[in-house]
Amino acid sequence: MTSADVREIVSSLVPSGSTPAPRKAPPPTGTRKPDGISRELYNLIGNAAPTLVAQVSRPKFKARPDLGRARVKWEFREFDNPARKDHLKLHHWQKATDTGAYRFARYNIDSAYITYTDEEYDAIYGTEDAPWTKEDTDYLFRLVREYDQRFIVIVDRWAPPSGIDRPIEELKSRYYTVSRSVLERRLPDDDPDKAQMLANFTFDKEQERKRRDYVTALFKREPEAIEEEEALYIEIKRLEQNERRFTKDREDLLKMLAGVESGLGTLKVEDDGKKKKKSGELSADSPATPGAPPRRAKAEAKYVPADDPINCVVRYDPATVAGPGTKGGIPSVFMRSTRIPVPKPSVAAYVTQILAELQISPNTLVMPTKGDVEKLDSLLNTAGILVEMKRSVDRLDQELRVLKARQKGESVEDAEMEDGDGKGKAGASRLIPGV
């Protein structure tokens, strides 16, 4: 029974005319639902369904087993293990096609180990080989072979004929020394690999003992000590980072404000890095003062080579010659001409005039020496003082004149007017009588 039948039955019960007879649903006009998309989803999105999705996400079922292929036959077979010296036959399942030698036999490998004959031993050690006996050495070599040079196991199993207990470094040392001697005798001198081979068998017992002591000490550290070390390490890293940041900031500031790019910023950082590496924890003790000059630089500044006076070299303390572009007391690069003294700005014009009258020009100093600069400096100073003198003399003359005119009976108003004009002058004029 379909739903249309049900509706028909129901509508027959209802008086006709009240509801229109259900029309047959029009045949679907839209496009057919594509494969790979569920009906519910298609109803929701309709024709807007992206066609690509339907193409890409076509459901994939598990690949059918390929039954057509030839089946592999397995057999329960007896096998012989070439790694064994007896004739033990064990059984296992194996592919019928697999008929080679036992495939795990190839893992039966022995590491290379050294043996010696009695003659060799006698030739090397004779009989006076005090702490060790031949029996013990034989036993040691047997164990080394048996345990594949695992000395930790060897020292555990150690029960030699002589009954002497020996520490692990003693056993190692003995093994390597004997092996080395045997090799040294056995290899011809012109063997190119001889040195290399012998080097493989060098063993320093003392160093090994020291290493073990050191590792033991490391192991025995208290947790507090470990924590402190870790904290110090983190502190170092933090300081280094700070210092680097400071240096960079300084450099940036200098570039921006003074326009100086000395190239020393990067140098400084590298220098700091080297210093850290060399002196390790030292830097952790020093406070975070990235600008402070390194101690080494100061020490060098105090050093004066003996031939300086002959070469007329004069060294200045960097701090005293700090000009623009200095950094941490180290002067940056500058032109020598900038070091020629210039007159004070307030008197520059007069001084230049005086120098012109004397027919001296600073431009004539092409390569100024210390003496030249000092003389020029004193000349400029003197000229400056002269100009100052001249000025005060002029001023005093002027005031003298004014006072004299006042005495002659000039009107008070004129004087007051003058006073209002320049308070400074009037103040000065009042001061003069007191002097």
């Binding site: 293990n81 790694a83 064994r84 007896d86 004739h87 033990l88 036959k89 064990l90 059984h91 296992h92 399942w93 495939r103 795990f104 036999a105 893992y107 039966n108 490998i109 048996e146 345990y147 594949d148 695992r150 930790i152 196991v153 020292v155 555990d156 199993r157 692990i168 073990r212 590792v215 033991t216 192991f219 208290e222 947790p223």
Partner: protein, 454 residues
């Protein structure tokens, strides 16, 4: 295939312990047979011989005058007359196999003696006609089962707690530490706890096993149980069987309620772990507080608890053949964390840290909830070092059968098959000390393969 490295030759792995015997095929993840180590013997009146009963249905069933005894002590075979019955039962009744087709790998404790090892091999070769055998140290097996070639194996077994360092697949025998503080002592302690009246429980709990109960009535919590005993059985049951069955009740109680507090034991702290409900075979129902439940296991970690049990510990163990190495006697026993710390302390400095990072806990004690956490806690506090790491399988059966699983891995490796001691080798009198040699040598390749595989 090369990575897996397995090649099964249908070997059987036999792991005999003091509590149970595990037998199964190499390459499987669980033993096929797990049977109690004890056996029952009943005197046959007609022939005058003793008839032996083994297996779960042999031991745990009531039989008149059946005496129970354990052929194992400290993990070593101690009474040989029952061993063949055990093996017969395992091979013929349970595995139902012809042993002539199966090489047998058996485990032994690190302190096993040469006599035991040779005798078991002789029985296997002569009676069971096996083509080949091999013997492996069970500490080594436990470390292999955990996927480690180097490990510190802490085995809390039935009779003995032992700490065995294993380096590259070799047990370092000189530094093995062991003492008779095991699960049987824990059972004794729990037995005392249950049978000692407390203020909440004025009557001692009666630990009759269910085989002896004729009827019982449902009662409320803590109500005095009403039950009748089977007097006929009671009259005829051997005392050893009754003791053993009572111990089974206690063991069951330990499995349900027992555990270890993760931190230092105080009754207040232990009470926070909550209560647990248990109904005894007599119908007695009780709720056990945390402090009551977790107190017995303190014998492993607490010196004062140890001092208390020294008074009523198990009798001194008589040995037919002395085991190798020294066992710390009960009177000098120390908490387990001291045992571990000492075992580590005597190790070479170069392997100490790798042993600390690879600690394997195995044996029945490892099944106690909280055992590992407590041991770690105590170790860290004792040695002031936090660098310990345990490798414990999460599934319970892997903990229970650790050594067996290690043997199963080993016996199914392709590279292992060159190490079997064949009948031919065994017969050869020149190889009379074969067991010592194979046990100590030829391991490198196994370890290498195990490392590749795991």
């Amino acid at each position: 295939m090369a990575v897996y490295g397995g090649d099964e030759v249908n070997a059987i792995v036999l792991d005999m312990g003091t509590y149970s015997t595990r037998v199964g095929y190499a390459g499987e993840d669980m033993p096929k047979v797990n049977m109690p180590a004890t056996y029952g013997s009943v005197l046959d009146q007609d022939s005058g011989n003793f008839k032996h009963y083994v297996g779960d249905e042999g031991v745990n069933v009531y039989r008149p005058k059946m005496r129970l005894s354990n052929p194992m002590r400290e993990g070593m075979i101690y009474e040989w007359n029952a061993v063949e019955d055990v093996l017969d039962y395992a091979f013929n009744d349970r595995l139902r196999c012809d042993t002539a087709d199966h090489p047998i790998l058996f485990t032994e404790p690190p302190w096993n003696n040469k006599h035991n090892r040779e005798k078991l091999a002789q029985i296997l070769f002569e009676k069971y006609n096996v083509p080949a055998t091999f013997v492996v140290n069970n500490a080594v097996c436990a470390s292999f089962a955990a996927g480690k070639g180097t490990a510190l194996v802490i085995d809390v077994g039935q009779d003995i707690s032992s700490v065995t360092p294993v380096v590259d697949g070799y047990a370092l025998t000189k530094s093995i530490q062991r003492q008779p503080i095991g699960m049987s002592l824990l059972t004794n302690t729990a037995y005392m706890t249950l049978t000692t009246p407390t203020p909440e429980r004025p009557d001692a709990i009666e630990l009759h096993s269910h085989q002896l109960i004729a009827s019982k009535k449902p009662m409320g919590y803590n109500a005095k149980p009403v039950y009748t005993l089977r007097q006929d059985r009671l009259a005829n049951a051997d005392q050893s069987w009754r003791n053993q069955m009572a111990r089974r009740v206690v063991e069951d109680w330990l499995e349900v309620c027992g555990g270890v507090l993760e931190t230092t034991f105080t009754p207040e702290e232990a009470d926070k772990k909550g209560t647990k409900f248990y109904e005894f075979p007599t119908g007695y129902q009780a709720i056990f507080k945390g402090s009551e439940r977790l107190q017995p296991a303190e014998i492993f970690f607490n010196t004062s608890a140890l001092n208390r049990i020294r008074a009523y510990g198990p009798p001194p163990i008589a040995e037919n053949y002395p085991s190798q190495g020294r066992m710390i006697p009960l009177q000098e026993a120390v908490p387990l964390q001291h045992l571990v710390a000492h075992a580590l302390e005597v190790q070479d400095i170069d392997v100490r840290s790798s042993l600390m990072q690879n600690m394997v806990l195995t044996g029945g004690g490892s099944l106690l909830p909280g055992f590992q956490e407590r041991l770690l806690f105590e170790l860290q506090n004792l040695t002031r070092n936090k660098n310990y790491k345990f490798h414990i399988p999460t599934t319970k059966h892997e903990r229970r059968f650790g050594p067996w699983i290690g043997g199963s891995i080993l016996g199914s490796l392709g590279t292992f098959h060159q190490l079997w001691v064949s009948r031919e080798e065994w017969r050869n009198s020149a190889l009379i000390s074969w067991l010592r040699d194979v046990n100590e040598g030829g391991w490198g390749i196994c370890c290498r393969v195990c490392n590749v595989m795991l």
